[in-house]
């Protein structure tokens, strides 16, 4: 029954999505408000049925109903409950349903909290989201049905892939999808604006919270995926330029640009046409990411043909939305009026530079990811584009952005004073340069680029702090006045400073990877090795029986200068159902740094392969991302950004060096 209810709910949701997508045909010309208002209940009902379908699939997983093909292939009765639940999206069909669920949640949110929007705009946005939902629900129903039955039902499932039996699967995919799919709202707003032929600063004000929300989720989603890879892979890498990772990085880069360009549009009514294009491109890259991952085209060009229905269907969705969106843009963008003027040296000018560099970086990732496919299709020649390519193209595009960032956020709108800005940043720049050159001096013969990277990250952090300080503490003012002014600064100002501080921290963490040290060795019980100033002793090897695996646990005793620091436990695990071995990494956190231990194969003489790493400041990489997202959330909580808040009330005020206390 459960499966039938789920599938029926999916069909109903699809029908409602089609109605929603087609509804403008009825109200668009007549402007009939009553029919227009129907888009809200339609969206809510559609979301309800998608949620019901998802709940049914989850029930099937939790109750281990192996008569469903999806459950039988990706679950097992002995799997712990949490992995029964996360197993729902640990496979193609279920993850597409999660995609649709999140799309429906965002649609329902626009219907519920978007009440301050002009009616017509809201109805348009909802109908565009209905169109997207139609495409994806049809994709699920016709090519990726998670509710297919097996007859006869197998007595036991085939287990969830051991790599996915990790808390990471509970966190990373939902957050990533919240980011990906969240950009659909910006896309829907852009399409709505193009159809209506009207766009103004108020539009940017409506779109910005959604963009910030999606961006914050995507930031955390990518960071959590990176941390998951870091501790699961056994050698401590955190980013691999894997095409699947690139698929998430592209919308992040474009989305970051979008967050900034909507700001210009909201404050200054400029960059309107570009912002629309960027909103379309960002969601297009999200779709492209989904396509690249889902069609299997990345594994091999030929895998594409192994399930042609799926691949062709996704390609059709992609063509329709990206092609349609861009065509509409080309047709209508010319009719949009250009907005406010600004000098090259101004906040707007700096944000244009930000957009240019971020878009170029996104292009570099896109080119590197698709080039081998295109080349093979055109010439038959196979090449590989790997980390060395991306490391040679992306950082050179982003480093100038980091250097310009503190200047940009301190420049005034419209016409800025570069000299005055440089004066305000003098201390921050001096301290960062001192740090960089200090590191170079201490580490003669060591890495050169890494200290510069640390300096750059520090400049971004200190520059953001300086921005808040100089805005609230004019020369000669008392501390009391400064504190009062600081309290009066908008949450948006603090949010952007915080997000930039987070970026700086991530940059420092990445640069610090140059100082990681590793010891690859063979150890017997009682042996001691050194890594990064710590001594690590293999103290115990013991067998452990888990719910659906058995493992050998190695206990390492860590000491620093003779002082015991605690134990690190790394295990080699065999999942009994599939017989797949995995390694569970042992981690010890010391401040922001980590000691990392993983086990390798055993030698015939009984010694065991061990990899030990000392990773100074490695946690900054992900901590920085969390701080970035917190900045986004703080900015989101600014009451001037709340949807429906009077559109013009804060115009001009934000361009003053310090917003007055509210």
């Amino acid at each position: 029954m459960i499966a039938e209810v789920g599938f029926f709910a999916l069909l109903l949701a699809l029908a409602l999505a089609i109605l929603l997508a087609l509804s403008p045909l009825v109200w668009s010309a007549s402007g009939d408000r009553a029919i227009m208002a129907l888009t809200r209940p339609l969206m809510l009902a559609m979301a309800g049925f998608v949620a019901l379908a998802f709940a049914m699939l989850t029930t099937a997983y939790v109750t281990s109903d192996f008569s469903l093909a999806s459950v039988a292939e990706n679950s097992h009765s002995t799997v712990p409950l949490i992995f029964k639940v996360t197993g729902v999206w640990g496979n193609h069909e279920g993850s597409m349903l999660l995609w649709a669920l999140i799309l429906a949640i965002f649609g329902a949110l626009v219907a519920l909290v978007g009440t301050g929007l002009p009616r017509r705009l809201q109805a348009r946005v909802l109908s565009v989201q209905g169109l997207i939902a139609t495409a994806f629900l049809a994709f699920i129903v016709f090519t990726s049905n998670p509710f297919l039955r097996l007859d006869p039902a197998p007595p036991e499932g085939q287990d969830l892939n051991p790599v996915l039996q990790d808390i990471g699967l509970a966190i990373h995919p939902p957050l990533l999808y919240l980011g990906y799919v969240g950009f659909s709202v910006a896309f829907a707003f852009a399409i709505a604006a193009l159809i209506e032929g009207r766009i103004d600063a108020a539009w940017a004000r409506y779109v910005r919270p959604w963009t910030l929300l999606a961006w914050s989720f995507l930031t955390v989603g990518i960071a959590m995926g990176s941390y998951w890879a870091y501790y699961v892979l056994g050698w401590g890498g955190f980013w691999f330029w894997d095409p699947v990772e690139n698929a998430s990085l592209m919308p992040w880069l474009a989305g970051t640009a979008l967050v900034h360009s909507t700001l210009v549009m909201e404050k200054r009514d400029a960059l309107k046409v570009w912002t629309l294009l960027l909103a379309i491109l960002t969601f297009s890259l999200s779709l492209l990411g989904t396509f690249l991952v889902r069609s299997g085209v990345l594994t091999s060009v030929h895998a594409f043909a192994s399930d042609p229905r799926r691949g062709v269907f996704i390609l059709a969705i992609l063509t329709a939305f990206i092609g349609g969106g861009l065509t509409l843009f080309a047709a209508r963008a010319g009719e949009l009026k250009a907005g406010g003027l600004f000098a090259p040296i101004s906040r707007e000018g700096a944000l244009v530079l930000n957009n240019l560099l971020l878009a170029s970086a996104a292009a570099a990732v896109l080119i590197g990811t698709l080039y081998p496919l295109a080349l093979e299709a055109l010439t038959g020649d196979k090449i590989s584009v790997g980390p060395p390519y991306f490391n040679a193209t992306v950082p050179p595009l982003l480093a100038p952005l980091l250097l310009a960032l503190p200047f940009g956020q301190s420049l005034a709108w419209k016409r800025g004073d570069l000299y005055g800005t440089a004066q305000r940043l003098f201390v921050a720049f001096g301290l960062s340069a001192l740090l960089a050159f200090g590191l170079i001096a201490v580490e003669i013969g060591g890495p050169v680029l890494a200290p510069l990277g640390v300096g750059l990250g520090a400049f971004v952090v200190l520059g953001s702090v300086a921005e808040i300080v100089t805005r609230s503490w004019p020369a000669g003012a008392t501390l009391r006045l400064a504190l009062r002014r600081a309290a009066g600064l908008s949450r948006q100002a603090y949010g952007s400073a915080l997000a930039h501080i987070g970026l700086g921290l991530t940059v420092i963490g990445i640069a610090a990877t140059a100082w990681h040290s590793e010891t690859i060795t063979l150890m017997s019980l009682g042996d001691t090795r050194e890594v990064g100033g710590y001594t690590v002793t293999l103290a115990k090897l013991s067998p452990v029986q888990g719910p659906n695996y058995r493992e050998t646990a190695a206990v390492f005793r860590v000491a620093s200068a003779g002082v015991p620091q605690g134990d690190v436990v790394s295990t080699k695990r065999i999942y009994t159902v599939r017989g797949t071995p995995t390694t569970q990494v042992g981690l010890m956190t010391q401040g922001l740094s980590q000691i990392y231990a993983s086990l390798g194969d055993s030698e015939p003489d009984g010694r065991i392969g061990v990899r030990l790493y000392w990773k100074p400041f490695v946690l900054l990489i992900w901590l920085g991302a969390l701080v970035m997202a917190a900045g986004g959330a703080l900015s989101l909580s600014d009451r001037r950004l709340r949807i429906g808040f009077a559109a013009v009330s804060s115009f001009g005020r934000a361009s003053a060096p310090a917003a007055p206390a509210e």
Binding site: G168, V244, V293, A363, L375, S384, P387, G609
Partner: protein, 157 residues
């Protein structure tokens, strides 16, 4: 036995069961050369070659048998005194350009290497043109009726 390892992202993407996931071990302790200088060169080199049976991994990261064999091969050649370039050529002769994670700069990869910077240049050019046109348009824009009245009022003073 062919041993594959997936990143969780890739594993999530390709869903369960497509590949035999195995713990990653990459460089094994028994492969490491005694000479730290040669070993350092070996590590850098092995980061440049693709493990041909894996999902987008270098032979430095992979624990596939082939990656192991290539790591040992590179180390043997280093001990025999070959240069980095000679080892690269040797592997390309054997496996084709596909083995290089850093594609060579030639006619085929011209757009790959220059593409991002071309986009940057074109973007900068477009911004420059747009800014110029906007400034000219703003300078040439006729005064509105209110502005004209204001101007006349000022001139009359």
């Amino acid at each position: 036995m062919m041993r594959l390892r997936l990143t969780p992202l890739a594993a999530f993407a390709l869903f369960a069961g497509l590949a035999l996931a195995r713990p990653a071990l990459a460089v094994e302790a028994n492969e490491v050369l005694a000479d730290p200088k040669l070993e350092a060169r070996a590590r850098v080199l092995s980061g440049e070659f693709r493990c041909l049976v894996c999902q987008n991994e270098s032979i430095d990261e992979s624990n596939a048998q082939l990656a192991h064999d290539l790591r040992v091969l590179i180390r043997e050649q280093l001990v025999a005194g070959r240069s980095d370039a000679q080892i690269r050529d040797f592997l390309v002769d054997r496996y084709g350009q596909f083995v290089l994670l850093k594609p060579r700069f030639d006619g085929e990869t011209l757009l790959l290497w220059l593409g991002p910077f071309l986009i940057l240049a074109i973007g900068a050019g477009l911004i420059g043109v747009a800014a110029r046109r906007r400034r000219i348009a703003a300078a040439d824009a006729p005064l509105s009726a209110e502005e004209r009245a204001e101007l006349e009022r000022l001139e009359a003073q």
